[in-house]
C-alpha cells in the first residue's frame, strides 16, 4: 500500500512514458540554450570584471568590486525577477516581448560576478616573475596580460569555471518566475506543469534525473581536470621528447 503510493507519486511508469519525450525534445533543449547563452555572457563580462578588479586605478577597481558584491550577494531568483519583470515594467523593454533575452542577461550578470572573481584569483595566482619577465622582453602591459598572464591564470581555474557552469545549468530553472509560453518551458517548468497535470511528482523526478545526467558527468570532468592540472598530462615518450619544460611558456611570447 505504502510502496504503491510511493511508486505512484514518484515513479509512475505511465507518466514517465508520457512526459519523457517532451522533456527531452524541448525542456532539455531550452535549458541548454539558456545555459549556453548565459555562460557566454558570464565569461565575456566576467573577464572584463576580472580585468577591472586587477586594474591599477581605483576608478576601475571600485565599480567592479561593487558589482561583484551586489550580484554575488543577491539571491539569483531575485535578480532574475528584477531584471526580467522589472526592466519591461520600467519601460526598458529593450528585447521586446521575448522572455529569454531578459532571462539570459539576468543569469549572465549573476554568473559574471562569480566568474569575474574566479578569473581574478586565477590571474593573480600567476607568479609575478612571469609578468616581469614578459615586460622585460619588451611586451606592453596588455600584450603581457594577453599572452602570458591571462592564459596561465585561466588554465589554473578551469575546474572552478566548470563548477560554475554546473551552477548555471541549475540556475536556469529559475526563469519560470518570468512566465513562459509552452514552447519556452525549460526542464523544470515543463516538469512542474506535468506535475500539476498528473497530480504526481513523477515528472519532476524525471526532470531531476535529466539534470543529473548533465551535471554529474560535468562534476567528474571537473575532478579529472583538477587531477590532471595538478599532475600534468600522463607522460608519453613522444610528448616528453617534443614538449619543452612547462615554464618555457614565456619563450613563446
Amino acid at each position: 500500500m505504502q510502496v504503491d503510493n510511493i511508486i505512484r507519486v514518484f515513479f509512475d511508469p505511465h507518466i514517465i512514458a508520457s512526459v519523457l519525450p517532451q522533456l527531452l525534445s524541448h525542456g532539455l533543449v531550452n535549458t541548454l540554450v539558456l545555459t549556453v547563452f548565459a555562460v557566454v555572457i558570464g565569461l565575456l563580462l566576467g573577464l572584463v570584471i576580472a580585468m577591472m578588479l586587477l586594474a591599477r586605478t581605483r576608478w576601475l577597481r571600485w565599480p567592479a568590486r561593487v558589482f561583484v558584491d551586489v550580484f554575488r550577494g543577491l539571491p539569483g531568483v531575485l535578480t532574475i525577477f528584477i531584471v526580467g519583470l522589472g526592466l519591461p515594467l520600467a519601460g526598458l523593454d529593450v528585447f521586446g516581448r521575448n522572455t529569454y533575452p531578459y532571462a539570459v542577461v539576468a543569469i549572465g550578470i549573476i554568473e559574471s560576478a562569480y566568474i569575474g572573481e574566479i578569473f581574478r584569483s586565477g590571474i593573480q595566482s600567476v607568479a609575478a616573475g612571469q609578468m616581469e619577465a614578459a615586460r622585460s622582453l619588451g611586451l606592453s602591459y596588455w600584450a603581457a596580460m594577453r599572452h602570458v598572464r591571462i592564459p596561465q591564470g585561466i588554465r589554473r581555474v578551469l575546474p572552478a569555471l566548470t563548477g560554475q557552469i554546473i551552477i548555471t545549468i541549475k540556475e536556469t530553472a529559475l526563469v519560470y518566475v518570468l512566465g513562459l509560453t509552452a514552447t519556452q518551458q525549460e526542464l523544470f517548468s515543463l516538469s512542474q506543469s506535468g506535475s500539476s497535470q498528473y497530480a504526481s511528482m513523477t515528472p519532476v523526478v524525471v526532470a531531476g534525473v535529466i539534470y543529473l545526467a548533465l551535471t554529474i558527468p560535468l562534476t567528474h570532468f571537473v575532478n579529472w581536470l583538477d587531477r590532471r592540472l595538478q599532475r600534468g598530462p600522463a607522460p608519453t615518450p613522444a610528448s616528453d621528447a617534443e614538449r619543452p619544460a612547462p615554464q618555457a611558456v614565456i619563450a613563446e611570447g
Binding site: 503510493n5 507519486v9 516581448r97 512566465g179 509560453t181 506543469s193 506535475s195 497535470q197 497530480a199
Partner: protein, 299 residues
C-alpha cells in the same frame, strides 16, 4: 510516530491531554478563538461535533489546509497571517467539525500533489472542481461559483474580447484552469504561464502580454491597484469551486459536505460573501445546491 522512542512518545500524549482540557474549558466559556491567528496559523476551535475523531486526517484533530499566498481576496497571506474568504469559511467549517485548522501557504501545483500525497487534508482557495482534477482528487460539494475574467489594458485599445485575441499572448497562472481553458478553446492564443498572479499582472502592466485571464476573485483587487486595467471579457466557470480531498477519503468528504451545508443554511456564507465581495453579483447557482440557504440580500 512509529520510530519515536518511548520517552519521546510520552510527550505528545501529555500535550493532547492538556489540549482536551483547554478545549473543554474554551467550550465551557463559549469562546471562539477563530479570529486570532499567527504566522504559524494554528487555530483552536471550540467544536461541537462528536464525530471529529472518526475523520481520517493527516494529523488527528487538526485539519491541515493548503492555501495560496497571493489569491486575493479568497486565499492569501498578509502580515504573515492567512486571510481571505476561503480562510474565513474554512474556519467556520473546522469549528463545525470540531477540528483545529493549520494553514500552510504553497503554490497551486504543490498544493494539489501534496493533497494526493496525504500531507494536506484539503485546500482553502478558489479551486475549480474540473473533470481533469476529479481524476486525481475527490471534491466536496460546491462552496462557491466563480467566473474567469479577461483583464486588458484599456490604454492599449482593441476589443478586449478573447475571440479577437488570436495570435496575441495571454498570461495565466501555471497549472490553472484558465491555462487549460485557453489551450482547449482558444488554440490560436499564445499562452504565457506565470507562477502566480503577481507575475502575470506585472507582465500585463509592462505590455509584455495582451491580456491576463484570471479568476473573478482577483478582479476587484487588480482593477483597484491598476486603474488602467479593466475586465473586458468573462467566461462563466462550468464547474463549481470545491474543497479537494485525497481520493477515497470518504470520512473527510462526508464531514466536509455536512459542514458546508450547515454554514450555507445558517447564513455564514452570505455574511462572508458580503464581507469579501461587496457589490459583486451573487453566485445564485448555490440556491439550487443548497435549497435551505437564506436568500442573499446585501450587495
Amino acid at each position: 510516530m512509529k520510530q519515536h522512542s518511548s520517552a519521546a512518545r510520552r510527550r505528545p500524549r501529555l500535550r493532547r491531554a492538556a489540549l482536551v482540557a483547554t478545549t473543554a474549558l474554551a467550550a465551557g466559556l463559549a469562546l471562539t478563538a477563530c479570529s486570532s491567528s499567527s504566522s504559524g496559523a494554528e487555530k483552536a476551535s471550540s467544536g461541537s461535533s462528536s464525530s471529529s475523531s472518526s475523520i481520517d486526517l493527516a494529523q488527528p484533530g487538526t485539519l491541515n489546509v493548503a492555501i495560496l499566498p497571493t489569491q486575493r481576496p479568497t486565499s492569501y497571506v498578509e502580515n504573515g497571517k492567512p486571510m481571505g474568504m476561503a480562510i474565513d469559511f474554512t474556519d467556520a467549517l473546522a469549528k463545525e467539525m470540531g477540528l483545529k485548522v493549520k494553514y500552510t501557504a504553497v503554490d497551486l501545483d504543490s498544493a494539489l500533489s501534496q493533497i494526493t500525497a496525504g500531507r494536506y487534508d484539503t485546500a482553502a482557495m478558489g479551486l475549480v472542481a474540473s473533470a481533469d482534477r476529479k481524476k486525481m482528487l475527490d471534491f466536496s460539494t460546491p462552496w462557491v461559483y466563480g467566473y474567469y475574467a479577461l483583464l486588458t489594458d484599456s490604454k492599449k485599445g482593441g476589443s478586449g474580447k478573447l475571440a479577437d485575441l488570436s495570435g496575441k499572448t495571454v498570461a495565466v497562472v501555471t497549472g490553472s484552469q484558465e491555462e487549460t481553458l485557453l489551450k482547449q478553446d482558444y488554440p490560436k492564443i499564445t499562452v504565457r504561464s506565470f507562477p502566480d498572479d503577481t507575475g502575470s499582472v506585472s507582465a500585463l502592466i509592462a505590455g509584455q502580454v495582451d491580456g491576463d485571464l484570471t479568476g473573478s476573485n482577483n478582479v476587484a483587487a487588480f482593477t483597484k491597484q491598476y486603474p488602467q486595467l479593466k475586465a473586458s471579457d468573462s467566461v462563466p466557470l462550468p464547474d463549481p469551486e470545491s474543497y479537494p480531498i485525497k481520493k477515497g477519503n470518504t470520512s473527510l468528504s462526508k464531514a466536509l459536505d455536512a459542514a458546508i451545508k450547515a454554514e450555507m443554511d445558517n447564513g455564514t456564507f452570505n455574511k462572508l460573501y458580503a464581507k469579501w465581495h461587496p457589490g459583486e453579483p451573487f453566485p445564485t447557482r448555490l440556491y439550487k445546491d443548497y435549497p435551505d440557504m437564506p436568500t442573499y440580500t446585501k450587495g
